[in-house]
Amino acid sequence: MKVSEIRDILDAKLLCGQDKLDLDILSACGSDLMSDLLAFVKDSCVLLTGQTNFQVIKTAEMLDVECIIFVRGKIPTKEVCDLAKEVGMTLLQTDKTLYAACGLLYVEGLEPCERGDF
């Protein structure tokens, strides 16, 4: 599923990463727990979270995640957005809850992220 499709399904606003709208996303993972994301997320996965601090961007960077969706209307600070831009990350923001956003993407066929292989 392309980032642009995800944006449309979630009625989301693009905060940065206009050049990545055609990026193919293979799976999704939703959590406010960075520790769980670090244990579960695979490549080409999109993150859905209500956390908007610096560590979300750094966690995603470690995981090679290229797109983050902030749910529940949460908006990160300019500094957090700047960090995302610096590493070429795409940020989306939706008013939907984590549950609703994950559900909408799931029914449209976006696979859940299974635990990574070690």
């Binding site: 727990l33 960075m34 769980d36 670090l38 490549d43 956390q51 610096f54 560590q55 750094k58």
Partner: protein, 139 residues
Amino acid sequence: MADFVEVYDVTSEDFVTAGDASRNIKRILKKIGLDAKLIRRIAIASYESEINMAIHSYGGTITFEIEGDTIIVICKDTGPGIKDIEKAMTEGYSTASDSARAIGFGAGMGLPNIRNNSDKLDITSSKAGTTLIVTFNID
């Protein structure tokens, strides 16, 4: 003597700069051109260790070494030590503070995740400090 060594400071409870050492390490590994999966494993283990240090310790250092076909990340803090290493290695067990939990950490996945992503993990701990030696083999 290692072929390459860099040392980074990690400050206790500084959740803005925490992770920057691991970001640097990842950048260096990318420049060297190692396998992407190996880089990801090293980055995750290093980042988890760094966050653990910021959450649980009085601060310390991360030493990143490349020695032949081995990469070693040494995380050394100045205390107060891990009371029960066996419990700390159990998924779901956590003693993290509310401030750490507020930013999404403290799920009790840190040490098990470091172990799972590394080729070898050695932990020694006392009240004077904890040292993690995390080793990765370059295939």
